[in-house]
Symmetry: D2
Subunit: 304 residues, 4 copies
């Protein structure tokens, strides 16, 4: 398979078409990004690598970070984490409070905001210096040094994140947040504010694609079974209430963020990251979805 040619071809087709959708504006800082950024980075398990367009520019990874925090909590606590968060798709928007009421404070899955907060709460409890330790972990699995939180974005979201504050206090009212909601939210907003470029994201997600993956310290992150399970949750829950659509059209496990990034993983083959800030009405990158659908259609490679 000539991946390079396929990637280039799709990129050129899509960049020539209208760039629909809207940049996320609910976080004031994110609204400032140039909406025409468009980057792609492909990394195979045998280290074939292709970057196109704005693949070296940093962007806010936002919800994509939830996969990283899940992997850390899963590594630390094992399957006990599933007592406090489910693995079912939610069928509703990413920040819905409705389901929490009927589910008595147990979020449906770790990728809706509520579930990610419960995972953050576990890490806040366990890590000595939660923010510093988490960042060190990210750098380790990415094997890159140049990764930072964006204080500006974190503060920007904290300043208007009333719905997330509502969510966190609501889960606390059910007893499924153990720490002070303020501390959990501070960790959560920082985690979401991490900035990476497409290449760093592809590298970071390699632990889900490559069964021989080792961290920069030579450590295996998750065993085979746990790795498969994280992929399975991405497959069913990675795109909020468009998860079925992504699975249907792209056929790969993946995760999106409102910064416009999407990472998809083809186990035993490759990671691919696409970044384009304009979002469709479900909150997923318009060009990102389009690119990945075309990619798996043309290559006829998906997990199905």
């Amino acid at each position: 398979m000539n991946y390079k040619a396929v990637l280039k071809n799709i990129y050129q087709t899509i960049i020539a078409e209208e760039n629909e959708g809207k940049v996320a504006t609910y976080i004031p800082e994110l609204a400032k990004v140039n909406s025409e950024n468009f980057g792609v980075h492909f990394l195979s398990v045998d280290t074939e690598e292709h970057g196109i367009g704005d693949w070296q520019k940093k962007f806010s990874i936002q919800s994509i970070s939830k996969v990283i925090s899940l992997s850390l909590a899963y590594k630390i606590f094992g399957d006990t984490i599933w007592e406090r968060v489910g693995v079912e798709p939610s069928g509703t928007a990413f920040n819905s409070l409705v389901q929490l009421e009927s589910d008595h404070g147990i979020p449906r899955n770790p990728f809706i905001n509520a579930g990610a907060m419960v995972i953050c709460d576990m890490l806040v409890t366990h890590l000595k210096n939660p923010k510093a330790d988490f960042l060190a972990y990210v750098k380790e699995i990415c094997n890159c040094d140049q990764i930072q939180y964006s204080e500006t974005v974190a503060r920007s979201e904290a300043s208007i994140g009333y719905r997330n504050k509502a969510l966190c206090n609501y889960i606390k009212s059910f007893g499924n947040i153990k720490n002070d909601p303020k501390d959990v939210l501070d960790f959560y907003f920082n985690m979401c504010s991490i900035e990476m470029n497409c290449k760093e994201l592809s590298k970071t997600f390699m632990f889900l694609a490559n069964s021989n993956f080792k961290t920069s310290k030579g450590e295996k992150l998750l065993n085979t079974s746990k790795t498969k399970r994280v992929n399975a949750i991405m497959q069913t829950c990675g795109f909020y209430d468009e998860s079925g659509e992504f699975s249907f059209k792209v056929g790969l496990p993946g995760k999106s963020g409102v910064g416009g990034g999407i990472v998809a993983v083809h186990p035993d083959r490759y990671c691919i990251t696409v970044w384009s800030p304009k979002l469709n009405e479900k909150g997923n990158s318009y060009r990102g979805m389009k690119f990945l659908e075309a990619f798996t259609t043309v290559t006829e490679l998906s997990i199905f």
Copy 2:
């Protein structure tokens, strides 16, 4: 991989453990089945084949039939079917009416009852003799002659299926059923009443596993893209509100029925059917779930 040994080993382990759950009783006829039946049939794309236990006994395939009707409608109407039914997991029980209200009569996916009825409605409109033509289609893709509806089971469900009647009339009230609800329900109850054994089911689902599949008439059923998409929907929606759990634990696309059957598909590798009538509280075969989780864990083969 010595599939035979693995299958046998898991079968013996599970049959020695307590058989929890309950046989479905809401369809009176189904309640009569012997709850200790336990059959497995494995069929690889290169025709390696293993049957264990009650793999030759017929049982009511129930909702597993929804994959077959979907494939027929998809073949006939192509992607226009997605105007009337979605591809998102529902997050709620299989016969919930709540979501239909907020979704204005467009069922979330073709595998919840509401969605399957919309698919049935399409077939009732298009087929000359809906029941006869559908059965002929089933026989063709299974390449077996000995397949029948169970009039007893269909009548039994019709006699008490008030919730399904409610569903069908409700969708009709939104205009998303075109025929008389009575005719659609008659087709639906018959379709669910089809009886097969494990081997016949494995053979029937081979069109989703084998990219070179041809029907008994030498016809390719669905092209690669459509085949992958049916698998993707099974992955996210095949087990009602336990779809995430199945994806998480088993990691394969599959479909269950309240008769206690489960078929799972590993694209390009195999189909596997397990049948055991006792259901867990989500309505999926207790031993079926257990068997398949063990099978993909031991073989370390799943799509992820």
Copy 3:
């Protein structure tokens, strides 16, 4: 109080203003009515009586009939009826199925469609000739002979009443309908099709206003406590999800129907009926609501 002058004055004011809203079209027969009809009939407990405009024209009383069937069931079965239907406002539209799911088939109150069907089911069980006996009862409390079902309207609604069929089958699935849904629906559609004029409605509802009320056979219908309780349910539940608004603006117990009729009761003082077919977006008569708000505001007479 010079009721006559007040009524006339308000009538003239309102008829001079634009007649907003829309005639109900979901029952084809109802769509044929002249939307400019506008009648009022006032009847005090001491038999002062005023008719204005189209007060002698018959119209389809629709949901107003639910108060009459409730009174008959309450008379026959006493407080046991509350085991099968509640007395709480629903907070949702009149034909919502959502609440029934969380309430396990016990409708919130007897004035939403679901609750009225449960009341109808009780009457179908108890009455020898349900339709004939119910009509006789209506004539008796109204003390009028010229009251009939409209076969045309009943058939018209039956032909398209898929949502009501869904509701009835749904309640049946919870076991809270005892008869065949077909028979219950036939009774229900007929009951709603009763035609009366404003005067007949005012007379019919006098048993809720006049504590000395006797039927044409000299019988007291409901005792004081039961009478008050029916009024209380009309107060909180008589106008679907506009019940609070009616209570707030008009301050009287009352009941509306999609035919455009509204009856309001001031206990120990009067009954008043207004009819005007155009409905506001909540399904209540636009001019009816306006008239009654003006009437209780001008007279400064409400129950509060």
Copy 4:
């Protein structure tokens, strides 16, 4: 009517019966109250007055305060308040977040927590010293000097009120809270912590019963129409999802609080306050509900 004898008689009957229900424990301070307290105070518009049992003991009025804050906001802002809060019963529990989602942040009515917070937000915006000014207002309409906030109770609720914090932040996320949620919640928790005895509550609510009511400064609080409208909202919304039941059984507008108090108003006749801390499962005073049902049944006096 010999009110005194009737009241005494009912009191003695009920005190002899088992005192079911549970004292509210979710606010730690409230859990400390003696659950056998039982007081009644009756005050007619012509100043007939009867106190029985613990009518002189102070208790936490909690949600009863929501009627007082509503009256102040209504007086200040007039009917513009209804742009930010509705008048419909909610059909759900007092602290539900679900409806807010479908209603886009407009609470159903001013007596559910969400609605009361919106009213508090208006007062926080308008009053110079919100807490001091509000207390002065309460003293003025009660014509009593000895009324205070309980700092202990307010702090106690603030320390655990995660669900209320969730609610307030959630409404803020829709833009229907203008101030900092912290300030609104501080006002809200203080308002709910006001302590009164039965007599003070009866006196405070006299402005809703007596059309000639004047405050201690000789001011008419609300005009006739506004007074009736507050009563109407109490009638339909005063008891959370037991409002219909209270209307049905008692037939008077009223308001309850989790401190075990209930005030009921018979317009043009009397106010009556009952206090007994044990609550039924809907969160309303067990003995309070029982007492008032008996009182209006025996006297055959209700608004219906």
